[in-house]
Symmetry: C2
Subunit: 311 residues, 2 copies
């Protein structure tokens, strides 16, 4: 089943202990769609500037990603500059230029409207909501957000959460959203806001999914319906940029490829999320995702099984 | 098979967001031996002062722990006072009084000498080495250490590492010991120091074991022989004190109960470690470990399986 994703397509300048790259292709929708494209058809809604040329377009084409929903506007694309010199788990932002993204008005191509899976990457919740409302028949809707929206745009974000099936955020965002330091209690609070599944991304420590119990709302039942996947221990994390979006792409892409959205499918989706995140950080930007094969993915899946299973 | 453990038996005054306790029974050897006692016979080498009375002795007796090696010295027992108000993952130490522990000279009862399993809890590496040398026939030797010894007593610690099969330390200690931010590269470096297994404890994110490859020494092979266990998501962590020592007790206790020290036994041991750590933090001090049954442990083991296994 096809996924439609709305989010940023951008250029990033990145410095990590492994080196430096200027203006690589980035943005949440880029990482997400590359990762998801190994599992299902992906359609992108975004806006880019005149600096987005044939080289960038070719990255999407190579993975057969539908870019009819990428608007080309006069000016420059969203640009982010950051480093991870002290801490690979937290980017230090040096510069953000919204450019054409500042006036982004998502336009949904007619051909996207039958997408049964919708991913709302981290953008203004007002826009997330507009896209959500334009696709009322989506079977599964997942989304991401960030500190800025949680802190300063909470009412708009709360409206988005009402329409989400799955919320994927990190530990800090979870605590900020709920005011609780316990993930179990946070999950119970977030279920009351709308989502039925909460995926908390822990960076180098993997991710934990909490599934809303249909029969009971106590925190104890929430804890009993969790699923954890570690990150793969790597010799070197070259560039953590996009790891969370690649996780989301693997997670949601796998789900969209399944006939039934069973608990087992969600558990496998968590594994594929961590698989795609582990590839993303092995090279700068989207380099590793561009070179991947489905065989690489299947092989790494078996490593995750070995890493976690008793027998 | 019996385990001998050498380490601290102490009194702790603890403050956490959940409350406060004055002078509860604590110390690494206490948490370790209580946790291990559910799996095998445990013998303790430690020193206590005149404040260690019948109530404290009864805690060990109730779990049939052999305390012949606990020396009673004039003066007061080791005392630690700390809090976890800002961060449940890191204690803030307010006061440490070594008391009788300052002149600790481990004395090994004759009856302990047939122990096939030896655990060297976090104490002066000079003492760890002395106990290790007094028990040359131990089949499996594991140990812990801390920042202070890594930083200021490195040569003595290096001598201890030569005699260890398993080193259990946390993320910060691992990075400090090896100077590497990658756990995979750290594991390769630590294997060269002596241990064949490295267990890195991640606090609320569980623990990862790295097993030395017998056939190859490349970092890639190290990464391929890792095993991860998460921590159990809990509604509330009441008191993190002793979680790492309880993990070690469950891990090593389970291993000591097994006829064969197979890779499968090590994987199960990681699960039992996290099971015991998850109980330890549910109440202040050793309260929860004192009330446990083997049935509680087996039930929680199944929760860990559900939390991690695809099928």
């Amino acid at each position: 089943m096809a996924i439609t994703v709305v989010g940023s397509v951008a250029f990033d300048s990145i410095e990590t202990p492994a080196g430096k790259r200027e203006r690589c292709l980035g943005g949440a929708a880029t990482y997400f769609s590359l990762a998801a494209s190994f599992f299902t058809d992906v359609r992108v809604i975004a806006v880019v500037g005149e600096d987005f040329g044939p080289d960038e377009q070719a990255v999407f084409n190579a993975r057969k990603i539908d870019t009819a929903g990428i608007e080309h506007a006069p000016g420059k694309s969203f640009f982010w500059e950051g480093s991870y010199l002290d801490n690979l788990n937290e980017a230090k932002t040096h510069n953000t230029e919204l450019n054409v993204f500042g006036a982004f008005e998502p336009k949904i191509p007619e051909a996207y409207s039958d997408s049964q899976f919708l991913f709302l990457a981290n953008i203004d919740p007002v826009l997330q909501r507009r896209v959500r409302e334009a696709m009322p028949h989506a079977r599964l809707v997942a989304g991401d957000t960030m500190n800025y929206w949680i802190k300063d745009h909470r009412p708009a974000l709360m409206e988005v959460l009402k329409g989400l099936d799955v919320l994927l955020i990190n530990d800090t965002e979870t605590k900020m959203l709920t005011g609780s330091r316990s993930l179990v209690l946070s999950a119970a609070k977030i279920f009351a806001m709308g989502p039925k599944t909460l995926v908390v991304k822990h960076g180098e420590y993997g991710a934990t999914a909490f599934f809303s119990p249909s029969d009971s709302k106590t925190a104890e039942h929430v804890a009993r319906r969790a699923f954890h996947v570690p990150a793969l221990p790597l010799e070197e994390v070259v560039d953590p940029t996009g790891a969370g979006d690649s996780f989301a792409g693997g997670f949601f892409g796998y789900l969209a490829s399944q006939a039934e959205l069973s608990p087992k499918a969600f558990r496998h989706a968590m594994f594929y999320g961590s698989v795609m995140g582990s590839f993303a950080v092995e090279r700068f930007g989207t380099e590793r995702l561009q070179q991947l094969s489905r065989q690489d993915i299947d092989h790494r899946f078996t490593l995750f099984r070995d890493l976690t299973h008793l027998d």
